[in-house]
Amino acid sequence: MKKLINSPQTLLADALRGVAAAHDQLSVDFENRIVFSTAPREGRVALVSGGGSGHEPLHSGFVGAGMLDAACAGEIFTSPTPDQILAAATGVDSGAGVLFVVKNYTGDLLNFEMAAELAREQGIEVASVVVADDVAVEDSTWTAGRRGVGTTLILEKVAGAAAARGWSLEKVQVLAKRIADAGRSMGAALTSCTVPAVGKPSFDLPEDEMELGVGIHGEPGRKRVPVMSAAELSHALVESITTDYDFSGKPVIALLTGLGGTPLIELYAMFAEVSARLNERNITIARSLVGNYVTSLDMRGCSLTLVGADNEILDLWDAPVNTPALRWND
C-alpha cells in the first residue's frame, strides 16, 4: 500500500488538520472530529451531515455558507458516533432546528437515530432525511434497502440554500425528501480501494474486468463484467438509472463523480457519453458537475447521479454557496 499519509491511525486527524489549515471559513473541532461552518446561522435551520471518512470532499468539503453547517467525520468507512453527531447538533442549533442528512447505511442510520434521541432530550428540534439512491441495490423493505451516494451532495446543496433563505425545518425536510426521492445513482469500478488500516485492496480485479454497481466503501459490486468502453459503460449506467425512475419531461441535475483515483480527463470522456445517452432519451441536463466529489478512497471508477428537478430546485441549486468543494455566486 502506497499512500501520502503518516500512518493509518493518524490519517483522519491529519486530514482534519489539513482542512483547518486550508480553509479559513471553517472551524474544526478536533476532539469531536466535526468541521463547522463559520457562516452565520442565527434564527435559521441548520444542516448537519456526516459519515465514514474516505469519501472526500463529501462531507467536510460541503460545509460553508449555503450548504452544510457541520459535518461529522467518522473513521474511514465507519459512521460517526452519536456523541459526535450530538456535539454537532448542539453546536449549530440556534433554535430553529437541525436537519440531519443521512446516507442509508445501517451504521449511519443507527448512530444518527441515537444522536437524534439525545438531541431531542436536550430540547433540540431534529428532523432527518435519508438518501437511498443507488439503483445497483435492489429495493426491498426486507433488507437494508439502497445505499446513499451522489444524491447526498445535491440534496445538501439545495436544502442548504433553502435553510439559508430561512425556510422552516418542516419545509426544508419536505424539500430534502423530495430530492432524495427524485435521485438515482449507479457506479462502476476499475479497481478496488485500499483501506489504510487494512493495507491491501478490498477486492482483486483482473486487468480485463470491472465491477458494475459498486458502492463507495470498497464493497464488491453486483456484477463482475469485462472492462467496458466509456460508451458501453455510459449505456449501462444510464439504462439502469432511467429504467428505475422516469426522468422524462423534467430538467435533471447530473453528477458524474470519480471514485477518488480517476483523472478528470477520463471523467470528461465519460461525461461526453453520458450526455449523449441522455440526449438520445430526450432527458435534458439542466445543471451538471463532473469531478471527484463523492469518492471511495483511491478507487478508480465513476458513479453517475441524476436528480429530477424543477424550477424551484434549480433556483436553489444556483443560489450562492461558499464551501471548499462547491462555490458560486457568492
Binding site: G52, T78, S79, Y105, T106, F203
Partner: protein
C-alpha cells in the same frame, strides 16, 4: 453459591473479549472485506480497547454501572453498525441488571436476553438475515434451555458459546438481508458474517473467562 458472576468475573469477560478481538481482528476485517467494507476488525479493536481503558481507569460500582459504562464506551468509540448494536447490547443488559455487585444465573440470563432483544429492536434483524443475531439468538436460547434443564451456569454458558459458533457458521451460505452485505445480494452467500463472528467471540469469551475462574 459459586453460580453468581461477580464484577470481577464480568471484567475478566470483557478483558478476554478485548484480547480475543485483537488477536482475531485481521480475520474479522477479512470477513468484512469479502462482503462489507473491511473495517469490522478495526472497529471492534478500537471499541474493546476503549472498554479496557475504561475498566482499567477504575471505579467499578454495581453491575449495572459497569455494563452501562461498557455500552456507552462502545457507542462512542466504535461507530458503524456494530458500535450502535454492541453498545445497545450492553446498555440493555445494564438496564436489566440488578444494582448489585454480582449477577446470579437467572439474572445473567435475563440481562443477556434483554441485550439480544435490544439489538433486535434497534437493527430489526431476525435469524437468517446473516447478522450478529444469527450467533446471539441461538446462544441465548441455548443458555435458557440449559438453565431450564437444570444445568449449572458454567456448562450452560459453554452451551451458549457452542451455539453461537454454530450460529456463526450458519451464516456462511446465507444471502444477507441486513447490513452492508445485503447490498451484494446473491454474492453475499459463501462468506461468514463478520458481526456473527465477533458475536461468537463475545460469547466464547464469557465461557472462557468463567471456565478459567471456576477451574
Amino acid at each position: 453459591m459459586s453460580e453468581a458472576l461477580t464484577i470481577d468475573a464480568l471484567q475478566q469477560w470483557l478483558h478476554r473479549f478485548a484480547f480475543d478481538i485483537t488477536t482475531q481482528a485481521d480475520w474479522l476485517t477479512e470477513l468484512d472485506s469479502a462482503i462489507g467494507d473491511a473495517d469490522h476488525g478495526t472497529n471492534m479493536v478500537r471499541g474493546t480497547a476503549a472498554v479496557v481503558a475504561k475498566l482499567d481507569g477504575g471505579t467499578t460500582g454495581t453491575v449495572q454501572e459497569l455494563l452501562k459504562a461498557v455500552g456507552i464506551t462502545l457507542v462512542s468509540t466504535v461507530g458503524g453498525a456494530s458500535g450502535s448494536l454492541y453498545g445497545t447490547f450492553f446498555l440493555e443488559m445494564a438496564r436489566n441488571s440488578p444494582s448489585d455487585v454480582q449477577l446470579n444465573g437467572s439474572e445473567l440470563e435475563n440481562a443477556l436476553h434483554a441485550g439480544v432483544n435490544g439489538v433486535i429492536a434497534r437493527g430489526h434483524a431476525t435469524v437468517g438475515d446473516k447478522t450478529m443475531i444469527d450467533a446471539l439468538e441461538p446462544a441465548i436460547t441455548a443458555l435458557s434451555q440449559s438453565l431450564a434443564d437444570g444445568r449449572q451456569l458454567q456448562g450452560s454458558i459453554a452451551a451458549a458459546a457452542a451455539a453461537a459458533t454454530i450460529g456463526r457458521d450458519s451464516t456462511k451460505p446465507l444471502v444477507a438481508r441486513k447490513g452492508r452485505a445485503s447490498y451484494l445480494g446473491e454474492r453475499s452467500a459463501g462468506h461468514i458474517d463478520p458481526g456473527a463472528a465477533s458475536a461468537a467471540i463475545l460469547v466464547a469469551a464469557l465461557a472462557a473467562s468463567i471456565g478459567e475462574r471456576t477451574a
